[in-house]
């Protein structure tokens, strides 16, 4: 199996969101795509999943271009994703959120399910068992019958990843999986993600949490202003000066940022003090 972006360009009108980016992904490895806000990371995911069209170039899964395929066809070809803003089926239970992700292979048996009760019982039991096993791995089994919207935020993230996994995808795209998680949850997430590595699966993580990125990924692609800035191992990325500048600006910039932060801290302290005074008065 192989997955690659081949000279991909995305333009929104005259704005170039992604300019001639090529990336190759080896199965069995975990990749991170990083870059400052607006670098085009989510645009890449959205193009791969079929939410955006590709202006130029190709996205290739097993050598076959994904363009022209509908979103559901891309999913059926083996590409699963999560969203930057969690998108679950809120009014369905945790279990149902997973079960419905099995529908691409199960839907054609619907009539049998409706008309032959024993088959329906078997099918439901089979689906339930498969989903419960995954829920178990993600620590969600105890909430299988809870509506997804009632889950705490961190567990919603886990459920979304589980939903992407249930169909056994060959390409797993995780769009900021750690966003909004506390450090304990991020740690759990890291260990779960490491266990999802498969010899026939490409895992791509888009993430801002550098600690997670560095400890999780085998290979990192750095995007900047819609272009590929650097590609290498976590150690190479950390050592690369260009990357640091893209992220933090030049040393001069860095000084001014620190200055700004100091001011802000001082300002907050001031407000706090006046608040205390007001309270006493």
């Amino acid at each position: 199996m192989s997955f690659a972006f081949d000279h991909v360009t995305k333009r929104f009108g005259s704005v170039v969101a992604i300019g001639d980016v090529s990336m190759e992904f080896e199965p069995g490895l975990i990749y991170a795509i990083i870059g400052p806000n607006g670098a085009g990371k989510s645009t890449l995911v959205n193009m791969a999943a079929g939410s955006y069209s590709v202006t130029e170039g190709q996205i290739l899964l097993d050598g076959r271009p994904l363009q022209g395929l509908k979103k559901y066809q891309i999913a059926r070809a083996g590409l699963a994703r999560t969203y930057q803003n969690i998108r679950l089926f809120d009014q369905m239970t945790v279990l149902e959120n997973l079960e419905v992700a099995l529908s691409p292979t199960e839907l054609r048996h619907t009539w049998r399910e409706v008309l032959v009760p024993p088959y329906a019982t078997r099918a439901a039991a089979r689906r339930r068992a498969a989903c419960l096993q995954l829920l178990e791995e993600f620590g969600l089994a105890d909430m299988a019958d809870t509506h997804a919207e009632l889950l705490p935020y961190g567990r919603q993230r886990m459920l979304e990843i589980a939903r992407a996994l249930i169909s056994g995808p060959r390409v797993l795209l995780l769009d900021e999986p750690a966003a909004g998680l506390n450090s304990g949850e991020t740690e759990t997430l890291k260990h779960r993600l490491l266990r999802l590595r498969r010899p026939d699966r490409v895992m791509i993580v888009i993430e801002h949490d550098m600690e997670l990125v560095m400890s999780l990924s085998d290979q990192i692609y750095v995007l900047h202003h819609g272009a590929l800035l650097f590609c290498g191992s976590p150690a190479e990325v950390q050592a690369n000066r260009e990357v640091q500048e893209a992220y933090l600006g030049t040393d001069d910039d860095l000084d001014s940022i620190r200055e700004l932060a100091r001011h802000r801290r001082a300002g907050r302290g001031l407000r706090h003090e006046t608040g205390v005074v007001a309270h006493h008065a």
Binding site: S51, A80, R87, F89, E99, V100, S103, P104, V114, A120
Partner: protein, 331 residues
């Protein structure tokens, strides 16, 4: 301790008895209904027709979350199927049981016909287009005089026969309707629980995410439209065979609205709600006959009050058939 457990078991026995009485009462009403006066049997027939219609529309509105305001069109397609295939209009006299599936299939085709252009639409826009579709069908029926008899409609429709027996009294139709409602209700319930039912729910919740997990939303939505329309067609065939006269007047926008109301007042996406809603909305105007000319006004007030007091409907989605069964049979 002993007295507590005695009291508890006494309480439990009371509860079991109460439930048995409830089930018994419902069964008794269903079975003895035909023995009541003709007025009541007619009313029961009416309720059952609307249960059937609402079961059909609920697939699209309640399960798939698509607001369809033109459902009456499929009812009309079913009714005219029987009217034209079993009357002197064209001298065709097919048996009732043959037309039943024809009417359902024809309505399903119209369902897909409506479904294809409205696929990209949701919410208000979908409501407006489906509303238009319902009106188009009615106006077509009104104006295709040569085929449909125009505003005069089709008269002298054949008496339906079941196993050789003519079906002519409201009592006979009561049994037919009750049987079909039970069959359709069971199938709909099984559909709801099937993987297709879950795919509908996913589309209702987040269409884009549903595509993202590999659901072909086009096919799944068209399935909802087609199955829903075929149930409407079924109801239409029975309606025409019962009235033995059809005209476009029976298929106005008001009918569509009434069916939507049954679903909304009863409980969206819940079979129990649909049944409750049909009973409430068909029986209520009859109960209000006492206030004569203020009837519709009173009806309006009651509906408004119901929506305010029970925004999730008389039977909320969470109290589905499974909950009812658990409640009835739990120790």
């Amino acid at each position: 301790m002993a007295s507590v457990s005695v009291a508890r078991s006494g309480f439990r026995a009371g509860r079991v008895l109460a439930r048995a009485l409830l089930v018994g009462a419902v069964l008794a009403v269903l079975l003895l209904m035909p023995q009541a006066g003709l007025y009541y049997v007619r009313l029961a027939d009416d309720v059952l027709i609307y249960v059937l219609l609402a079961l059909g529309l609920n697939l699209v509105i309640g399960y798939a979350g698509l607001l369809d305001l033109g459902f009456v069109a499929f009812y009309a397609v079913g009714a005219y199927s029987y009217a034209l295939l079993a009357s002197p209009q064209f001298g065709i006299h097919l048996p009732f049981l043959v037309i039943l599936p024809i009417g359902a299939a024809l309505a399903a085709c119209f369902g897909i016909l409506l479904g294809i252009p409205v696929l990209p639409l949701r919410g208000d826009y979908l409501a407006i287009v489906t509303l238009g579709f319902g009106e188009i069908i009615r106006i077509l029926l009104n104006n295709m005089d040569a085929v449909t008899g125009g505003p005069q409609g089709v008269m002298m429709i054949d008496v339906p026969r079941l196993a050789g027996y003519p079906l002519i009294s409201p009592r006979g139709f009561y049994w037919l309707l009750l049987g079909i409602c039970i069959i359709v209700g069971t199938l709909v319930l099984r559909l709801e629980r099937s993987i297709l039912g879950k795919a509908w729910a996913a589309i209702r919740e987040d269409q884009d995410a549903a595509r993202g997990i590999g659901i072909n939303t086009v096919r799944v939505k068209l399935a909802a439209f087609a199955i829903s329309a075929s149930i409407g067609g079924l109801a239409g065939v029975i309606f025409a065979s019962f009235q033995r006269y059809v005209s476009p007047e029976s298929f106005t926008f008001n009918e569509s609205i009434l069916i939507v109301l049954i679903i909304v007042i009863g409980g969206v996406g819940n079979i129990l709600g649909v049944i409750t809603g049909a009973i409430a909305l068909i029986v209520l105007p009859e109960l209000l006959r006492g206030v004569a000319e203020y009837r519709m006004m009173a009806f309006g007030f009651v509906l408004a009050a119901l929506i305010v007091l029970r925004p999730e409907g008389l039977v909320p989605r969470s109290f589905g058939p499974a909950r009812l069964a658990r409640w009835l049979f739990a120790p």
